[in-house]
Subunit: 287 residues, 2 copies
């Protein structure tokens, strides 16, 4: 069965999914996106993702391409046509097609593209060993709270990580504090057991999984605080991990040359990962 994509009102074979070269997403990165996890046949944190999409659109003053019920209906039809039980929905909304000129065009209609794919969850052993991250300077713009497709700095950072044999790059601001990974939020657990992640302002994307993990941490009675932490503090941490809709909780066992904890996944991260998967299979689902 071939993959099907949704492009501006039509379901088309993935290979034929195309947009005009003057779609402002292509020429100006003038668009936003969301990635929604599909877990065991249901969407996880669907409504928070759609709320954030609305917020991103609002920040850029791009009109909503369709009503929320219509959007949710397209998501479901796309899953059905692609027969996906566990995978991802990617959706992108841009300001639409217009003759190239920087200001907002007067008559463009927002464009909506949606794709879906299956994913395989990582093996338990891979999770136990954790991943390596490197640190890089955060060179991005000052509105990282908007989930835009202007992802080039993130691409360059992720590539730098891969070439260093690492899974992710943690971006470090001028104050020496970790902002976030290139596609994940960053977390540490201090030696005295406190869970820390940066508070959400314009310097990071307020991850939907990040928010779910904060709620789960509270439910589990963990001590946690949202505050900035330095790279050095992270290297001294007992545990570290990253979160995203696709990474869930992925333990970090090395930051640059520093081994974190005993070099294996820590108990707080593993506990939150289990709690998140329970949540994804239960309270977080929308059929």
């Amino acid at each position: 069965m071939s993959r099907i994509a949704y492009v501006n009102g039509r379901y088309v074979p993935h290979a034929d999914a195309a947009v005009h070269v003057e779609d402002r997403g292509y020429q100006f990165a003038d668009g936003v996106y969301e990635v929604v996890l599909v877990y065991d046949g249901a969407m996880v944190d669907e409504l928070p993702h759609l709320d954030r999409l609305d917020r991103s659109l609002g920040e850029l003053r791009i009109a909503q391409p369709m009503t929320r019920p219509a959007l949710r209906s397209v998501m479901r039809e796309l899953l059905r046509r692609n027969r996906i039980r566990t995978g991802l929905i990617y959706m992108q909304v841009t300001r639409g097609v217009a003759r190239r000129d920087h200001p907002f065009p007067k008559n463009a209609e927002p464009a909506l593209v949606m794709t879906a794919k299956r994913i395989a969850l990582p093996a338990a052993a891979a999770i136990e060993n954790g991943v390596k991250v490197i640190s890089i300077r955060d060179i991005r713009w000052e509105r990282c709270d908007i989930k835009t497709v202007a992802l080039l700095p993130n691409v360059l950072g992720k590539q730098q990580a891969r070439e260093a044999g690492a899974h992710e790059a943690w971006q470090v601001d001028d104050a020496g504090c970790v902002t976030e990974g290139t596609s994940t939020n960053a977390w540490i657990v201090t030696k005295d057991g406190e869970l820390i992640t940066r508070s959400a302002n314009q310097s990071i994307l307020n991850g939907i999984t990040r928010l779910s993990l904060l709620r789960l941490a509270e439910q589990e009675g963990l001590r946690f605080v949202e505050r900035s932490f330095t790279l050095e503090e992270a290297k001294q941490a007992r545990e570290a991990f990253i979160s995203s809709a696709t990474a869930f909780v992925t333990p970090v066992t090395q930051i640059d040359d520093a081994v974190i904890g005993n070099g294996k996944a820590g108990s707080v991260g593993l506990g939150l990962r289990r709690a998140y998967l329970d949540y994804a299979a239960g309270a977080g689902r929308t059929a």
Copy 2:
């Protein structure tokens, strides 16, 4: 006659010019571009534009989509098919189409899109009156020297200008210095007649027209210096103007609420505009 575009090896009607939704230009702003002026049937500063395209591609480690002779041949064929005497060539190169994932894909071929359009030059009276610019904070990333399609901050800044009844927005860094406009370089002439434009580092795009103007200024025996200038210095200047391949030299007669000089185009800017148009019609041309 309908417009023709060039898309990855084919000349197609402009309306049919499309790229795949997984072109990395669309999902990651993972691409670069150039805009080349066509003036009276010939391209202006063609080779410097192609040199800068090569540099941008090199900085992002995107392979060149074709040899330079082939690229120049496509440019000429596109002009011929669109019967353009005075206009613009827009060319965009992206890292190509690949399943969505941040790192550089292993097997993607760079994608090349080229469009062309006619433009009309502004009337002399409009030039004489100059344009208004507003000042905004520069919130962009730290590699503004690369001419990428990650233009969202520029779009937002230009829109802000338009809503303020202005033509352009000058971006101001943390030190209070003007970096550049959202699609133009910024220039001032001090009260004692010195021409100033910011020196080219990673905080601005090194405009091709900017470079030509510096050479012309030298040929004309103007006193000039490449250095940063504050917004306040600009508001006190005798003259101000902006430059780009499409703006040439456009006088600025108001910055925020400050009227520049006597509120009409200044002599240094007008002289450089004439010199540039002579250059465009002569030494700067490639047939």
